[in-house]
Symmetry: C2
Subunit: 230 residues, 2 copies
DNA sequence: ACCGAAAAGAGAGCACCGCTCTTGCTTTGG
DNA sequence: CCAAAGCAAGAGCGGTGCTCTCTTTTCGGT
C-alpha cells in the first residue's frame, strides 16, 4: 500500500500531485505551449531547479498530464456507459459520445493536449497507449453487447477492404463481424472530428444549437456501426 | 498590378515570401510551437529585429502561414473536384476527400497548424475565415450538383433539429434540403476527424492499410450526405 | 544510536526566446 | 533636391528550459 511507506515517499507524491495540479491550472489559463516550469515553481513557492527532482523535463510533465487526461476522459466515458447500462445500445452509444463532448467542453485545453496537434518534436511514449485506448474500448464494448444481444444491422464491406477488416477485427474485437470493426474505427475517429471542430471554433457562426446537432450526429454514428433500428 | 510598382515594393514582397518560406521550413522541422523568429532571421542572414518590419509579431507570421495553408488546401480540394468533374457525385466526393488527406499527409505540420490545437492565447483573426471555408464550399458544391442532377437519397431529420437545420441551410446552401445541410456539416467535421487521427498517430498499430480504409470511410461519408446509390 | 548514502532544495549561470528602442543608411516622391 | 519614409542593425529587457554545484534533510543498515 502506498500509505504504508515512509513520510518521504508520501511527501514526494504530494508534491508531484501539487505540481501537476498547478500545471493543469496554467494549462487551462494559457494553453500547453505556454506552460512554464518556472511559473509552476513560482506558484508552488519553490525554485525552478527543484522541479527537476520530480519531472526530468517539461516534456515529461506534459506526458504526465496527457496520461491523466486520457484516464480522466476514459473514466467519464465509462461512467456514462454504466449510467446508461439499462438503455438500448444506441442510446448508450449516444450517452458515451455526449460524455466525451461534455468532458472536452469542460477542459478544452486538456482535450487539445491529447487530441490536438502533437507537441513539437515530442512523440508520445508507450505509457500513453493504454489510457488512450479506454474510450475506444468503451465504444467497442457497446457494439459487442449489441452484437450478442439485439444484433447488429448489416454493413457494407468492399472486397478490397476485407484483409484490413480481418486484421482490425482480430486485433480489436475477435467476436465482432469484420465490417463492424471497420465501422467502429471510422466512427471513433469521426466522433473526435465532431468534438474537435466544435471545440476549436470551426463551428463558430455555422452551428448554433450544438447540443442538438451533436446528439443527432452521434445517433447517426451509432447507425453507422450497426446499432439501432435493428 | 503588383509587378508595376517600384523596386522597393518588389523587394518587400520577395523578402516577405522568403520569410514565410523559411518559416514553413522550420515548421516542418520543429513544429509550430518551436517556430522561432530569431532562427528564421538567422537562416535569412538578417538580424531578428529586422523581421519586425515584415511581421509585427510572431503570431502575425503564424497567421500568414495559416492563411496560406488554408488556401493551399482549398486549392487542392478544388483541383480534385475539377479533375473529377465528369465522374458521379459520389466519386467526386471521394476524390475531394482523398485530396484533403493527401495534402495533409504531405504537409503534416501545416495541417496541424490549421486543424490542430489553436496556438496559445492566439485567436484567429477574421481574415482566416474565407480561406478556411474553401474546402467546405467544395463539398457543398458537390452535393448541390447532385441535388440538381441525379438527386439525393432521403435523410432523417428529427423534429428537434428542424430549426437548426433550417438556419444551417439558409446560411450555407439555400437550395439544398435542410437535412442535407445538417448531414454536410457533420460529414465535413467527420472527414477531418479521419484525417487528423491518421496524421496524429491515433491509427498507429490500429489501421494498417490506411489508403483503402480511408477511401471506404469517405465513401460512407458520401452516402451519409445523400450521395450515391441514389 | 549512529553514520554514510540517498534524496531534496537553493542558487548561479548558460543559451535561447519574443520584443522594443535607438541609431544610422537608403530609397522614394513631392 | 531634400525631407520623409522604409529598412537594417545593435543593444538590451525580461522571460524560458535546463545544468551544475552546494547545502540540508531524511532514511536504512549495522
Amino acid at each position: 500500500m502506498s500509505t504504508a511507506q515512509g513520510a518521504r515517499a508520501r511527501a514526494r507524491q504530494e508534491v508531484t500531485a501539487a505540481i501537476k495540479e498547478a500545471a493543469r491550472g496554467q494549462l487551462a489559463a494559457e494553453g500547453a505551449a505556454k506552460l512554464s516550469l518556472r511559473a509552476v515553481a513560482r506558484e508552488l513557492g519553490m525554485v525552478s531547479s527543484a522541479l527537476y527532482r520530480y519531472f526530468p523535463s517539461r516534456d515529461d510533465l506534459l506526458t504526465a498530464l496527457i496520461i491523466d487526461a486520457y484516464d480522466s476522459l476514459g473514466e467519464a466515458a465509462e461512467r456514462a456507459r454504466d449510467a446508461a447500462a439499462d438503455a438500448a445500445p444506441e442510446a448508450r452509444w449516444v450517452a458515451v459520445c455526449e460524455a466525451v463532448r461534455g468532458w472536452a467542453l469542460d477542459r478544452p485545453h486538456e482535450y487539445a493536449l491529447i487530441y490536438g496537434s502533437p507537441v513539437p518534436g515530442y512523440s508520445a511514449p508507450q505509457t500513453t497507449v493504454p489510457p488512450a485506448a479506454r474510450v475506444g474500448m468503451v465504444l467497442i464494448g457497446i457494439v459487442r453487447d449489441a452484437h450478442q444481444g439485439p444484433g447488429l444491422t448489416a454493413l457494407p464491406l468492399p472486397a478490397g477492404l476485407r484483409p484490413e477488416a480481418a486484421r482490425l477485427a482480430a486485433d480489436l474485437a475477435p467476436d465482432l463481424p469484420a465490417e463492424a470493426a471497420v465501422a467502429l474505427v471510422a466512427a471513433w475517429a469521426q466522433l473526435f472530428g465532431l468534438v474537435g471542430f466544435e471545440l476549436f471554433g470551426q463551428f463558430n457562426r455555422v452551428v448554433e444549437d450544438r447540443e442538438t446537432f451533436f446528439r443527432h450526429a452521434a445517433g447517426r454514428l451509432a447507425e453507422g456501426v450497426g446499432l439501432g433500428r435493428g
